[in-house]
């Protein structure tokens, strides 16, 4: 090999170390960049290329590639768990808000308002002629109503807040997917663009935090991203996501494909959007339905009793609370005296429905007999405000004699129980009987006291035994110990189970959050172990390559000196 070859070797070394120093500098520069993957210059010796029997040293050094120090398995795991963490993070924030609404640790909870209301009835029973006691009762009833209204409104506000957050998250998804598609094209045209890959992975990680997606790489290194089988990114193409609410105010997610708007709501599997869905359409709804059931049963039961009694003015038959179920009775001689929720689970699935009960003498399609000789009844439901009706099959009614000459029966269907008063004969007078029943959608928000005049409080059971007759007030006060709520629980127990559920929910979310936090921290450490930049290491590399560079420079000088020596020799 000629002496000139030494220059070449020196040159390759200079070039290689320069690039290695570049890599080091780049690593140092990005030591704190989130999602950055450490790069390493891979050195390789250049073989001599000549075939000579005895050993021949090579022709220097070169950089075969700059490698991303990246462990695909850890990264995938991390992405997955970060998606879970993000789910629990959002879920946890939501349930904490629910918990705050039902926080009985402070003295401003709803349960003191419930006991306060019933205690006021006892006060009235002790002094039924007292104006003060009656006024206080109305004030306490208004306070209880207000507390329930407020709790319901807070939950409702929380739902709209979550919808707004979903809208902005969906916007973020669209911005991320279009940036990924953009990067896809760039990476496809220059596969060595390591930093673009880092950026893309970082975007993908954020996307997974919003909603879990599946990703695969095509043959030119582009990511295809699917959400439950529906493409969001297909190479360089982007399909935009959107969110809206349906007629039942449920959140729906769509992907705008060229030929259809595909509903992907059921395919949202993890991340913040799933947490939003679970909170908005499950947890919060559940508490709202329970508050509605509470309000309906409270007003229905109190009203049923209150109508039996008489105010100080001797007038009876008044409601105490505003009725929360609209009942229309266009024909016939019977009356619906009570509509209460007996099963919150069933009721909540059928909220926003109207019911129609018909009676006749002859029966017909969907009619069932009651008593002997039989009269016939039928229950229908409508979900479109009364335009179309379908017959439902309620539990067989029980017919109980209330008093001589008076009958009432209860029909139970879809989680509600309807009590109809009236003798069989009255229900089938010519033309038949028809009731339309419509539980209010936001019953808990509409709960309120029906009057403000304290003399109307019906403490007496006998309108001629005024003012000392306290029997009705005592009967109503005693309802606090009666199973008047759905699931046969007392008012306080019914509410207490809501508080306990809110607490358990918040506690388990907290535990899950802590678990995923630790898990992600652990995985993050694992990734750092491989992909993280260690400044000490880079400093060592810096010294190493600097020394190498210096040595190579000296190599060139030595080659130069050798040549000079040779030239001087021949010049003589």
């Amino acid at each position: 090999m000629p002496v000139i070859g030494l220059f070449d070797i020196g040159r390759t070394t200079l070039l290689a170390t320069r690039r290695a120093l570049d890599t080091t500098a780049h690593n140092v520069a990005n030591a704190a960049t989130p999602g950055y993957t450490r790069q390493e210059a891979m050195l390789e010796n250049i073989p001599s290329g000549t075939m000579i029997g005895t050993g021949v040293s090579g022709k220097g050094v070169r950089i075969i590639e700059v490698r991303r120090m990246y462990d695909a398995f850890t990264s995938l795991q991390l992405m997955n768990e970060k998606s879970n963490l993000s789910y629990w993070n959002t879920y946890n924030k939501g349930v904490i808000k629910i918990e705050n609404i039902f926080n009985e640790a402070r003295d401003t909870g709803i349960s003191p308002a419930i006991t306060g209301f019933f205690n006021s009835w006892r006060e009235v029973a002790q002094n039924p002629q007292g104006h003060t006691e009656r006024t206080l009762l109305i004030k306490n009833a208004e306070f209880l109503s207000l507390r329930i209204n407020m709790a319901y409104k807070s939950l409702n506000d929380l739902r709209s807040e979550i919808f707004k957050s979903s809208v902005s998250l969906v916007n973020e998804v669209n911005s991320i997917t279009s940036r990924i598609a953009d990067l896809n094209e760039k990476i496809a045209s220059s596969p060595g663009a390591l930093d673009l890959k880092d950026q893309r992975d970082h975007l993908l990680e954020r996307l997974n935090q919003i909603a879990k997606v599946t990703t695969f790489e095509d043959n030119v290194g582009r990511y295809n991203i699917l959400i439950g089988g529906t493409p969001l990114v297909d190479g360089g193409k982007v399909y935009r996501m959107s969110v809206s609410t349906d007629v039942n105010d449920n959140m729906q997610f769509f992907v705008n494909l060229p030929d259809e708007m595909r509903n992907v709501t059921n395919h949202i599997a993890g991340g913040e959007l799933k947490a939003n869905l679970d909170l908005r359409e499950n947890k919060i709804n559940d508490f709202m339905h329970r508050l509605n059931a509470f309000a309906i049963n409270l007003s229905d039961t109190i009203n049923l009793h209150h109508r039996r009694g008489f105010g100080l003015d001797g007038i009876g038959g008044r409601n105490f609370f505003n009725p929360l179920v609209s009942i229309t009775d266009p024909i016939g001689g019977g009356t619906v005296t009570s509509v209460s929720v007996v099963d919150v689970g069933l009721y909540s699935r059928n909220i926003n429905k109207q019911y129609r009960i018909d009676y006749n003498t002859t029966g017909g399609a969907g009619y069932q007999p009651e008593g002997t000789p039989p009269i016939f009844w039928r229950v229908q439901e409508s979900t479109d405000g009364g335009a179309t009706w379908t017959t439902i099959d309620p539990t067989v009614p029980t017919n109980v004699a209330l008093a001589v000459g008076t009958d009432f029966r209860t029909l139970t269907f879809n989680g509600i129980m309807v009590r109809i008063d009236g003798a069989p004969g009255a229900l089938i007078i010519p033309g038949g009987e028809r009731f339309d029943i419509n539980p209010r959608l936001h019953a808990a928000q509409e709960l309120g006291v029906a009057f403000s005049d304290p003399t109307r409080v019906a403490a007496a059971l006998d309108g001629t035994m005024l003012p000392g007759d306290n029997r009705n007030a005592r009967a109503i006060a005693d309802l606090i110990n009666q199973p008047i709520m759905a699931g046969r629980s007392t008012p306080v127990d019914f509410y207490r189970s809501m508080v306990a559920d809110a607490g358990v929910e918040a506690m388990s979310a907290k535990t899950s959050l802590r678990f995923y936090n630790t898990l992600v921290e652990e995985l993050e450490r694992k990734r750092q172990e491989i992909s993280g930049v260690s400044l000490d290491e880079e400093a060592a590399n810096l010294i190493k390559f600097q020394k190498l560079f210096e040595a190579a420079a000296r190599m060139i000088r030595v080659a130069d000196e050798l040549l000079t020596t040779l030239i001087n020799m021949t010049g003589r």
Partner: protein
């Protein structure tokens, strides 16, 4: 294991956060004095707490009901004792009037004292507690004995609940002891000897007999007074039993209230000594963490390159 600076930062931040959170929670417990500040702190205890609070509130209400009941029942008791005193005095007067040596003029004198007793008895029958006539029925704003001396309201028992399921009658309609719906006679004879079973009737008959100078009826009145005295004592006994019942419940409430407050405190209140020592521990850990972090994270190999 390959360690990078970022791993130290992350660990430092997360450990610091954990300690800060623990201190924050301890601080919350100290400032509220409560162990449970939200349902998730201990959902089962929170549920129990709601139960205890409901019971305590029921007992508070019950205490007020007991006071109302006591006011009425004690007034009834003292009224009945006064009435019994009146009956005893009337008996003495009847015995004096029945004596043969007393002349018609003296009997009229005695009769005027009996009339005064009758008026007091009517006054007692129309006793009010607050706005309520305690010897009336549901028509509690109507005086039970009207101007004619007849019972003029309903005889419904007025009950209040002094505790769940325990009721106490806070009235005693006047037709039990004083008089039924028969007005008092103003002239005699004939005397209504059968009506002697009521206090007002017995007193009225005695007064009329004294005025009419009719020794036979005066003696008959003595028997009547004995029997109405028996009635009054019976009523006093009943009222006494009611008072006992009220006192028993009141004592039970005091014990129960104390117990409930103890349970409540056990579930609810923070163990201050423990919280403080925990907080001190965390604080020490946090200080250590800060020192190490500032010392260690400050330097790297770069500092030594010249």
């Amino acid at each position: 294991m390959r360690i990078t600076m970022q791993m130290f930062y992350d660990r430092f931040i997360s450990d610091m956060q954990k300690n800060m959170e623990a201190i924050f929670r301890s601080h919350e417990q100290l400032s509220t004095g409560k162990r449970i500040n939200r349902p998730s702190d201990d959902p089962t205890a929170m549920s129990r707490v709601v139960g205890y609070k409901t019971q305590i509130s029921a007992i508070d209400q019950s205490k007020r009901a007991i006071n109302t009941a006591k006011d009425s029942v004690e007034s009834m008791e003292s009224a009945m004792r006064n009435l019994n005193g009146i009956i005893t005095r009337a008996r003495e007067l009847a015995i004096r009037g029945a004596t043969g040596s007393v002349d018609a003029g003296a009997r009229r004198m005695i009769a005027s004292e009996v009339d005064a007793l009758l008026q007091s008895a009517i006054g007692i029958a129309n006793t009010r507690v607050g706005e309520r006539y305690i010897f009336s029925g549901f028509q509690s704003n109507v005086a039970p004995i009207d101007a004619s001396g007849a019972f003029a309201t309903d005889n419904n028992p007025v009950s209040i609940d002094i505790y769940a399921g325990i009721t106490v009658q806070i009235n005693m309609p006047a037709n039990r002891v004083f008089n039924d719906a028969t007005p008092l006679m103003t002239t005699a004879p004939p005397y209504d000897t059968a009506a002697g079973t009521f206090v007002l009737q017995a007193l009225n008959t005695l007064s009329l007999a004294l005025k009419g100078n009719d020794v036979g009826i005066i003696q008959q009145s003595l028997t009547n007074l004995d029997s109405v005295s028996g009635r009054a004592l019976e009523a006093i006994g009943e009222i006494g039993a009611t008072l006992n019942k009220i006192n028993t419940i009141e004592k039970y409430h005091n014990d129960r209230n104390h117990n409930l407050n103890t349970y409540l405190s056990k579930d609810m209140d923070a163990d201050i000594a423990r919280v403080v020592s925990e907080m001190a521990q965390r604080q020490t850990a946090l200080e250590g963490l800060r020192t190490v972090a500032t010392e260690f994270l400050r330097t790297s190999l770069f500092d030594f390159i010249r």
